[in-house]
Each structure stands twice: as structure tokens, then as C-alpha cells.
Point group: C2
Chain length 154, copies 2
DNA sequence: TTACATGCAAAGGATTTGCACGTCC
DNA sequence: GGACGTGCAAATCCTTTGCATGTAA
């Protein structure tokens, strides 16, 4: 139910540099030092990570704007997917993780820990979470789509 | 399933000025022109509304910071509740609406229309939405809470 | 009168953009 | 060489904050 990849909280995949180069080539992006490092950082991260956090790990090897631009490309190419946990900024994780299993997250409002939720049913979720000792749970479920008008105008 | 309050998309309550004054008094807030107007605007709005939008409707009758400060108090006092639809800013609706029925929203990514969802079950949701002609649906379900460690430390 | 509310200006933090220069293919 | 990537600086947008003044109770 709640996955902790081999001791890690979530999102861990540890791509090799080769994996990453292949991914970049496959998506028509240049294999630059910065892009490779960004993907390594995301892949090493134990939880979805924000752009400023990535930039911090890069210790000024590049400008923040470059990280934003790279992430933007990765998002377009579906190399990473965006995670919004209502923190006032966005986080990113490898899309491969999402592709393998549609999932959501649980964030501890106190310590900031983030875990993956492998299923997608509210009752099952809340029961499993309370069995694990989670309390004071809140959830947000929002849909987007094209309404009937916009769907037919396509 | 999807509620459209008497022709309105969602969130409509149309509080009278008296209602609003009572609410402010009940929560120990001063009955100032600005606070009253802000609540009127939210109450008239057909969908959850953002601070900059509220400020626009006030046509410079007050500073944006005042709107932010008022909203912040309303949030604390549970007069309004916050809606995050991944747009890069937050929206607000009257809490009374939420109190009456826990609900979520559906946003059309094209025209920006927002509707209320009255139930809280993913299958039911998606089926009902597709019956209504919605396509290309995506949803976000995120939990927050206190993890077992943080719960016991209370 | 006194705590609360507001205006104004400045600052913060995430994110975007324009432009010139540098690098991958 | 030409497309793509990056650095730097400036700008944008939402939001917060400090301080002096104004207003509700």
C-alpha cells in the first residue's frame, strides 16, 4: 500500500548516467552536463524535489533559470512529472515512476516526510494510513479536464 | 452529483449584508467596509475566487495587502476555505459551503469553468463526469497529515 | 482609548523572459 | 555552422511584512 523502495521513502530509481543519456537522446534533448546532473539529482532524491532544491544541490554549477528551463522541457517530454503538495512551490519526480503505477502522495505537515500511495481509493487509503499511525489527515482531490462544450469544439 | 446552484456553477450563497455582519461579529472581527465587501464578493462569485480577482472587483477601494490580510483572517476563523487548482495561485470560497458538504472541484483546462463535485469516490466521479461530456480528465489526490512519529510526539 | 484595520512601500520567493554568448551534433 | 543550451540581469506574479496612520468598539 505505502511503498518504501528498499528503505527509501519514495521516488527512488537511481538511474545510471547511461540511462540518463539514453533518455535525453530518446527525447531529442542535448546531453549537456547540467541536464544530466539535474536528472541524476531527481533520480537520487528520496522524494519529489523542487527546482530551488535541485539548484542548491548543484551548488552554483548553473543558474536557477537553467534548472527551470530544463525542468520545463522534461515536463513537456514527460521525463518528469509535477507534484503539487500545496506548499507554495512544485516538486518533480521521474515520470517513469508514475508510468509504472499511477499514485499519489502523503505529506507529513510536521516533519515534511513524503510517502507514496500505490492505490487510488479513498477508503482504502484512509484506513491504511490510520493503521500506519497517521493522524489529522486531510486530502485534496481535484479534477481537471475539458468540459462538454470544450470537448466538442476540438 | 455535480451541483449547479440554481443556474450557478458553484459556491453561490449570496449572503446579505446582515448575514455578513453577523459572521464577522461571531468571529470577533471588526465590521469594516473592506471586510464586508470582500465577503460579499466571495459570496456573489460563481466560483472560488482569488485574492487578485477580489482586489480587481474592489477597484482600488483598498490595497491588495489588505485583501490578503483579511483572507488570512477568514481562513483562520474558518469563514472561507482555500481551493488549490494548480493554477499557480489560490482561490477561496465560503466555508459554509464546504461545511454543508465536503466536496472537490473540476476545472476545465480550456475555458476555466469550475464545478463542484458533491461526492468523494473516484469511480463515481469519473463515470459521472464522462456522462456529462467531460474528456481528457486528470485528477490530483494528495493527502497531508501527521505521520506516526509526529503523531506520538504531540 | 485602545486594540484592531488599513495604506503604502518594500521585500520575499517561485518562476519567466530577453539577450548575448557558449556548446553540442 | 546552426540549432540548442546557458548565464546573467531584469521582470512578473503571488504573497508577506514593517511601519505609520486611521478607524471600530
Amino acid at each position: 500500500m505505502i511503498k518504501e523502495y528498499m528503505g527509501h521513502k519514495c521516488c527512488q530509481t537511481n538511474l545510471t548516467e547511461e540511462n540518463i543519456k539514453d533518455i535525453l537522446t530518446d527525447h531529442g534533448l542535448n546531453k549537456t552536463k547540467v541536464k544530466i546532473e539535474i536528472l541524476q539529482i531527481i533520480s537520487r532524491s528520496k522524494k519529489p524535489i523542487s527546482v530551488p532544491e535541485i539548484h542548491l544541490e548543484l551548488t552554483d554549477k548553473c543558474d536557477v533559470s537553467t534548472v527551470f528551463r530544463s525542468i520545463s522541457q522534461f515536463k513537456e517530454k514527460k521525463i518528469v512529472s509535477e507534484v503539487n503538495l500545496d506548499e507554495g512551490f512544485l516538486r518533480y519526480e521521474l515520470f517513469s515512476i508514475k508510468k509504472n503505477h499511477h499514485h499519489h502522495h502523503i505529506l507529513c505537515r510536521k516533519c515534511g516526510d513524503i510517502k507514496n500511495l500505490e492505490e487510488c481509493d479513498l477508503d482504502v487509503f484512509e484506513k491504511a494510513l490510520s493503521k500506519l499511525g497517521f493522524t489529522q489527515m486531510e486530502h485534496r482531490l481535484e479534477f481537471t479536464g475539458l468540459c462538454s462544450k470544450c470537448s466538442t469544439k476540438l
